[in-house]
């Protein structure tokens, strides 16, 4: 077998190819998982132990860090988690639903401004978010939407990048004949979209839902400038606050514990949604 691995990939026997694949996959998995291990180790260490540099052996302060830093600290982490779940959840739902709808409009229908709209959305996709952020904040201030989740959730409706993905996906998987068939069956346009297109788009929706959820979950920049009341704050703001604590309270162990605590729900959400991605063939309907 070893001999065979030296040959050109074309002629490799299946066993050797499988062995290589497994070796690479295990390596890659290690590269992905090691971060969670380090994070876990650091969350178990006390503030003093952390100044010592990294060790691969866990320490004994996990419960203490969680208790003092997260659950019984002065910052409302549990409330923060609910806020984060609400904001990220709503963003993911709104973003995927309406982006699919937008993509559907461009993909299925012919109308005068179609060409213009699709080019326009492509063009605005390229605008860096950082600069419009400040104009965005001025706007939020003028609309009196500070300390409100609306400016964090509603803009997700117009997500050019998600739209673009949905459109690309539709091009390869949503045949127009299917829509025609639904029309002949007497299905209304809105109903066709909801009952035929959406189920077909499930893998794409799951993918983009995860992406949107995660980026909203980890977003610090805008929420930090919009949310000021403690009971409205999301997890990244609370973590940043923990990191800028005064010297009496500053404790990196607490920070790591809080990060570990805040990653946990995303992992759960990801695992739930991931079944649509990794579960194998989910595609039904007519093939093009």
């Amino acid at each position: 077998m070893e001999k065979n691995t030296n040959k050109k990939a074309k002629g490799l026997p299946i066993g050797a190819r499988r062995a290589i694949a497994y070796a690479v996959l295990i390596l890659v998995s290690l590269l992905c998982l090691i971060w969670f291990y380090i994070l876990f180790i650091n969350a178990t260490r006390s503030k003093g132990e952390l100044t010592r540099g990294f060790t691969p052996i866990p320490s004994t302060h996990l419960i203490q860090n969680l208790k003092n830093g997260v659950f019984h600290g002065t910052l409302p982490f549990v409330r923060g988690m609910l806020n984060s779940l609400f904001v990220a959840g709503c963003s993911a739902v709104l973003c995927t639903y309406f982006s699919t709808m937008t993509a559907y409009a461009i993909h299925v229908y012919n109308f005068r401004f179609k060409k213009f709209m699709s080019t326009f959305i492509l063009a605005v996709m390229m605008i860096p978010t950082q600069v419009t952020a400040l104009g965005f904040l001025q706007l939020v201030g003028k609309m009196k939407l500070e300390d409100n989740f609306i400016p964090l959730i509603v803009p997700a409706v117009a997500a050019p990048v998600t739209y673009f993905y949905m459109k690309q996906y539709m091009e390869s998987t949503l045949p127009l004949s299917l829509i025609e068939a639904a029309r002949i069956d007497g299905s209304g346009e809105f109903r066709t979209f909801n009952t035929i297109t959406l189920p077909l788009m499930k893998p794409a929706i799951a993918v983009q839902a995860i992406f949107t959820f995660v980026s909203s979950w980890n977003n610090y920049f805008i929420p930090a400038l919009v949310l000021h009341k403690d009971k409205m704050k999301t997890l990244p703001i609370l973590i940043a606050q923990l990191r800028s604590a005064d010297f009496l309270k500053f404790n990196m162990g607490h920070v790591y514990a809080a990060i570990a605590f805040s990653i946990f729900p995303v992992i759960v959400v990801y695992l739930i949604l991931s079944k649509y991605i990794v579960g194998g063939t989910t595609l039904g309907g007519v093939k093009g």
Partner: protein
């Protein structure tokens, strides 16, 4: 003039708009107690200059809130961000420092101060030394004298804590309850091994000035020790002892002492006497343990007590293996100042908070005892310094307070500018490349100029 009129019209329009919003949104926003309170006081504000019912406090962490909660008489906590002093509702507006979010948030609030409804105005906010003058030098901060606090009230405070918050016209605009004089904290074991003694009176002459410092660094290096973990450790000691400000007439100015820091540090790094790590990283803190082989750190009391891993088995601090000495020059590290925002409707309450927390000897002594702060009150600190029973376990039982008191008296911070935060940060960052040999001094300085002008476009070099 035209512009001004326009902004006035805009302001009126906005106030009117917010009033309408208030009236119309009773159904939608009834869960907000603030909305009701706002409606109440709008009527009040018209009738006269009565004390407002909401005190808005802007800060970046919980430190001040804890001080108020534990030490200010009559403060009742309602929840994490609300409290009560008598009839006044205290609202804590906490924004973390990260990404400059605190100052961004505060700036926006202050710039809108004129248009804001009485109970939405910023009343009290906190600042740090590095950017103190940004607020102190502006009209957004009230002179302390206007609050009815006299120089006599503040007589016991260390003078440098007043330097930091005095504007260019000599008007005092803030007060602090703490002082953060720094000392040189050295490793007793290493001192015995290299210099044959760990007594501060024997070690101080070896580090009395920067020449002695370098000579001793060589001795330490021969025995395998670094004199300090990083050259950034000594930066504050130099930058607090400058004779000219960072900016003179709109032009960036590098003080001779800062320049000396660059040359001294380059020499230290080249000779292998010290590293170039950023503070707070793993490489920097390795010297908290004997095997890290670092001789000294520079820092105030809080660094000694809270940051040197005293609670960890095997650390030098845990074994009481550090000692303090004055070192080459006195300096200050840290500290928080309280300011009153112009336009506040709670001037009397703010004045009382300032008086109680920064002038009341009893309360301040309590702060020392309860929170280990070094308070901004000479009699209180000097009494503690004389206390034979008071000793710091981290320092092997040494009472370093006399040293801190002497240090606090010597600090002068009269060369500050509104640009200090940016200049100090960028200077250390820019010089790193020079120390490590990736660039020469001239281009490092040019990089510094460039970075500062990006932050403050009105400056030239």
């Amino acid at each position: 003039m035209k512009k001004r009129a326009l902004s006035l019209i805009l302001a009126t329009a906005m106030v009117a708009g917010s009033l309408v919003a208030c009236g119309g949104s009773t159904g939608a926003a009834s869960s907000e107690p603030a909305a009701e309170a706002e409606a109440e006081t709008e009527a009040e504000a018209e009738t006269g200059a009565e004390e407002g019912s909401v005190l808005n406090v802007y800060c970046w962490n919980e430190e001040f809130k804890t001080r108020v909660k534990d030490h200010y008489p009559g403060y009742e906590e309602v929840d994490a961000t609300h409290g009560k002093i008598g009839d006044i509702e205290v609202v804590w507006n906490i924004t973390p420092n990260e990404n400059n979010a605190y100052q961004n948030n505060l700036d926006e609030a202050l710039l809108k101060q004129d248009e804001a409804a009485a109970n939405d105005k910023v009343d009290l906010f906190l600042i740090e030394a590095d950017y103190a003058l940004k607020y102190v030098g502006s009209d957004y901060t009230m002179p302390i004298a206007d609050l009815g606090i006299t120089e006599e009230d503040l007589a016991n405070q260390y003078s440098y804590t007043k330097d930091v918050v005095t504007d260019s016209n000599g008007v005092l605009k803030g007060v602090s309850w703490q002082g953060c004089p720094g000392v040189m904290i050295y490793n007793r074991e290493a001192a015995k091994e290299v210099f044959g003694s760990d007594a501060p009176e024997d070690i101080q002459p070896k580090f009395a000035d920067w020449d002695a410092f370098v000579a001793s660094a060589k001795e330490l290096k021969d025995k395998g020790y670094q004199v300090v973990s990083s050259v950034n450790d000594t930066y504050r000691v130099y930058s607090n002892n400058v004779t000219s400000p960072w900016v003179v007439d709109g032009k960036i100015n590098i003080d001779a002492n800062i320049d000396k820091w660059v040359d001294d540090s380059k020499a230290l790094v080249d000779a292998g006497y010290a590293g170039t790590h950023d503070l707070w990283g793993d490489d920097w803190s390795k010297g908290f343990y004997p095997e890290g082989k670092v001789f000294a750190y520079f820092g105030p009391a809080w660094l000694i007590d809270f940051c040197m891993a005293a609670d960890t088995e095997g650390s030098i601090a845990n074994a009481g293996g550090w000692a303090a000495t004055e070192g080459p020059q006195g300096f200050n590290w840290g500290g928080t100042w309280i300011c009153a925002a112009a336009g506040t409707d709670n001037a009397a309450e703010i004045a009382d908070i300032m008086r109680q927390l920064t002038c009341n000897v009893d309360i301040m002594t309590d702060i020392v005892k309860d929170d280990n702060d070094f308070v901004n009150n000479k009699p209180a600190m000097e009494a503690m310094a004389q206390d034979e029973t008071y000793g710091d376990a981290v320092l092997g039982g040494q009472n370093a307070l006399p040293m801190f008191c002497a240090g606090a008296d010597k600090i002068v911070m009269d060369q500050i500018t509104i640009y200090d935060q940016g200049c100090n940060e960028e200077f250390q960052k820019a010089m790193k490349g020079y120390f490590e040999g990736t660039t020469d001094k001239e281009s490092a300085i040019n990089a510094f100029y460039k970075a500062v002008v990006e932050k403050y476009p009105d400056l030239t070099y």
